[in-house]
Symmetry: D2
Subunit: 365 residues, 4 copies
């Protein structure tokens, strides 16, 4: 129920506003005995760091995590793990002039309606800054998954209508390496170049672009996910649509399945040389009946174009007076939020899988 | 956590297998004082009833609900409401010959991996029959919503690649009426005819079709949904992907947003003659920052083509031996599962909104 | 959150009113592969059956359970297990004359305040009849525990101020046998006789008695219970105070500990011949820091005297007019509710332990 | 489920070890619009501060809370409120010599069994230091309750067998004032003096004492608490037994009810001059059927004598070798833990009531 927690057994609770003293996360349910260090968390956090390239916003702040609890002599103890990230580079005075304007595509209108109060500085709790806490927690989830041979990856597959060809997922480590080496987290160099050109063009016009990310995981045992409401794809859809700026989710064949026939779409079963059963194709995307088959898991997430654009926009004030919305000079915003979402999507995927792995310990007597 | 419950405050727990003695649902959290009758539940249940037309499967059984608890003198008492639906027309002997074959596109493989045991008769717990319990619960959720002026609708918008034009959502009552009058729940007669022809063609070839449903709601107050993890669209995505055969979800502009620019996509704010603030357009689909704006809510759900087809399919047995899968003679299956999913999608939408309405009572002091 | 569910991982949801069509329970989270039969559930249910002796009320109805789901070929499948018990012997007309009177010691006043509506027939949802559903679920929990060598017992240790001497818990099977053989579930024959005399005396005067039950479990591994909020004793206290008519709970030394010194109270550690570490005494009652030590678990629960008595009592009507409350002729009530609570306390203990056993699977990597 | 969270709707999650960098709490679900300041939290925290008198341990550290999130311009925003308390005075080197000894009455044995790892410094997560986070959260819960006219109090009612006479609860503010003015939080000066003498005597012998606390609340509306599992007394029992060193809980008449007759115990209903219905007596302790009647709520909690005593104790090492346990020189421990538990018991009471107040918003349509 509590709206700031995610997950059932491997459960995170995040807190913090963009321009408050700090953001952070409490991870409750991580089993004891997992080796974890500040450096490992830091490495993941640096991936979503702003200012990496001209394609993301220049917020200069370096996120530094402090492990407050739950780790003793380098290992988790079974106690809750609290991670703290101070907000350092937070100049909120520039938000003063726009605090009474409804910001198109943003949440200040709905927060005011719901709560009667809104911490407008940098978007407050609605800021994407909250996702840094998810990435910090995701670092621990990934470590947990790696212990069981499960590996994850997320990457940009389309920006501004420019799509890369479908990648091969079996060698996910190589795909992840290529992704992280690319300034816009797209593992296909050729497509990435075109995307970068499109981003630059939009930026010049004070505009922004939308995009599509893909997430994938390999090494999953069959059996992850619960049959009815906690289907693996339902948990993933929930995780992804809980990210700011997302508009859609699809697993495996996704919306394209709606245009296929059963005889095309069904993945038939076969046996390999070792006698292991698997599906011949994988249009399902790695699950059947909500439960992992053992085949690679893959899905796609649609991101809308960044709402914060330099072009002036029509709006009204909180009291309903017509006005023009202009971004405060020096305010930081990405021309395409999808790019920075890559480590976040991967983190949410890892959190969903860590939860499912634990849950699966409960299925048989 | 428990995998057979859905919702936080308006919470359902379903039980039952396709060919067991009964299915049912316990609704916990419905406030006291809501008038409810067996007839109202029955009316909704009859919508998902099999055998309505050549476009759905001929399972003759009529679902009859019994209210076991939580209603006294025609009103809810605040106690849990248990609804029971007996399984009458359940001949499971015909499943005997295929019990050791992995059924392409079905869950018997994954259930066996997860639990080591599988009630194979009619798909057991993985059967779409479980959704009848959701529809029964949804009838109560809809009654609850109507009390607050919130109304819902779901309809077929595309089958086999044939799409109807985008409907106008403001007059949702009229749209719902047209939908229910149509044999395949598509409110656009012209498109529906083409879809029916496509279904018949596929059926003749022993094959099946996929489709896309749209869901919508009007009358929502601004403020429904919680900011971070319980975003309204996240809960909807979770609800929809928890339905059998779903492959994708999108809200508002959805995947199309990924190909738009910020200046096109942002819904600008304006004030109407009465001084009420609203958005000029509604590409967002009714939420901002995960919270309802008061504009109509709309979303789309992709369904894969029915996995059960008459065409023989390659497969293996549970022990890995190559085999051919053929449906048992007389087994019931829909040529397009999307059609029968219409009342189910509407029910899940109603359950999500009922939960959000209750949750919203907690937002302000 | 939902108020009609109990437990986290081995979770029950009960429903039903005393004079409605049925009561029942859904058990969600019982692992697959546990053999279970209707007879085993029936055997436990018969223990709380009314009319067994002059010391309990003569409600003649025989509870019959139907397993609606979750069991296939005699074993649990991992799907939710729904159990249904029809209410047969429910004549509610006699409650008509007292429906507008506030019943001393009963819940109709508070239900009316909370819900604005009250199913007054036989106490509706507040009736102890709801506990039959707990006992049915408890039968499955006990079966689950037995699989892991954990055994439970509950018994009457005091009625009307007459207390039996502290029993030896190590041979719990023998203690349970003696308990079940006694008409008032007290394993000490001598004390039981005095208690029965006291009950008869009170009954003659149209009055009732309170009592104290003890619960115990052996065979627990060390490690059950979670350190902070889900301490084993916290979960037990919650379970016991969720039973009708309970006023207190104590574990191990309980309230007597408040009058002891640390040097008396601390259980020192020692090693047995096999090198196993255990505590020399067991004033703690089987836990340290909320987690089981492996020593026998034991606790006590205080029950108030039955509120329904034949003596006339002063009261007011629901509109505040002075009145005299008299039990409807032929209404059934126990002279001492503690007796019938024995199988219920044991069931709640079993449910708490089953949950803790599952939870403990998650503690280490 | 997550073991470090407490509450359903007004929900806290605590983290931190005694000798780690910090402890803290995240409060999720506090409605927006509640005025709250650091000073108010600090005032409550100072009540459990060590070193106040010779009757509590001399840990010199002053707890300072930092509000990290959820408060904007002096009011709660609906976002999670994170409170951080740094551990400053934490010299853990002195625990080195005893790290391999099982400490009588402590949790290191059970933690090691459960997790295979134990942060032994100052008791780690099992330390009563965790309760400082509960008190910080309790300060906010009390502020919330006060907004609705609900007030709470906890006090020492018995130490070392010396009991104060039952207090009058109606003027709870005066009782609280007297309590806070007393060095051992006992509002009865005469009894308090005797208790202090007993504490000094035990201390001189290197020993410790147990005690009993009473908690109370006034101003409650009728209707708080849920009928079956979330009974108000069940939630209180759970809250109290989740505190370190507690062995028992009783509400109203408690264990004494077991020795009473129904005709004595039933609180009869009557109407006051204004026509308001209330119970004549209040043996029930403020609830009927688990739901508040509007009468004062009161309960008692038993605390065992402090486990840490200066007297040497027999024990074994973690590998089972016989040893003598001696407290490290300079280690801090209270001669009677019950005293310092006073603000903690009050905080838990406040948290339970805040949750119940919110829950009650959901009971009627």
């Amino acid at each position: 129920m509590p709206s700031n927690s995610f997950g059932s057994l491997f459960r995170i609770t995040t807190f913090g506003e963009s321009h408050g003293p700090a953001i952070g996360v409490v991870i409750d349910g991580c089993p004891a005995g997992l080796p974890i260090s500040t450096e490992e968390i830091q490495a993941e956090l640096s991936l979503r760091q702003a200012g990496k390239s001209p394609y993301t916003s220049p917020r200069g702040e370096k996120d530094e995590t402090e492990i407050l609890s739950g780790v003793f002599e380098g290992k988790t103890t079974g106690a809750p793990i609290a991670l703290l990230i101070r907000n350092r580079d937070a100049d909120s005075s520039k938000y003063e002039p726009i605090k009474d304007l409804l910001r198109p595509g943003h949440a200040n209108y709905t927060y005011l309606q719901k709560y009667g109060i809104f911490d407008y500085r940098g978007g407050g709790r609605s800021s994407a800054r909250e996702t840094a806490a998810r990435v910090a927690a995701g670092a621990i989830a990934k470590k947990f998954l790696a212990h069981f041979g499960v590996h994850t990856c997320a990457f940009v597959s389309e920006i501004g209508g420019i799509a890369m060809p479908p990648p091969i997922l079996k060698n996910l480590a190589a795909l992840r390496k290529k992704t992280l080496a690319n300034p816009i987290f797209c593992p296909d160099e050729k497509a990435a170049k075109k995307m970068m050109a499109a981003i630059e063009a939009a930026k010049k016009e004070g505009d922004s672009l939308g995009g599509i990310l893909q997430g994938a995981a390999v090494g999953l045992p069959a059996g992850l996910g619960d049959p009815v409401y906690q289907k693996l794809e339902a948990n993933l859809a929930y995780a992804m649509l809980s990210l700011p700026a997302t508009k859609g989710f699809e697993i495996g064949s996704g919306f394209a399945a709606a245009r296929m026939r059963g005889s095309e779409h069904n993945d038939t079963f076969e046996t390999d040389r070792k006698g292991t059963i698997h599906t011949a194709g994988n249009l399902a995307g790695g699950t059947l009946g909500g439960i992992s088959t053992g085949a690679p898991l893959y899905f796609r997430v649609a991101f809308k174009p960044t709402s914060s654009i330099e072009k002036p926009q029509k709006t009204v004030s909180t009291t309903g007076k017509a006005a023009t919305f202009r971004l405060p000079p020096g305010s930081r915003h990405d021309p395409c939020v999808a790019i920075r979402a890559v480590p976040i999507v991967e983190s949410m995927l890892a959190l969903v899988l860590a939860d499912a792995l634990l849950m699966n310990r409960l299925s048989k007597i």
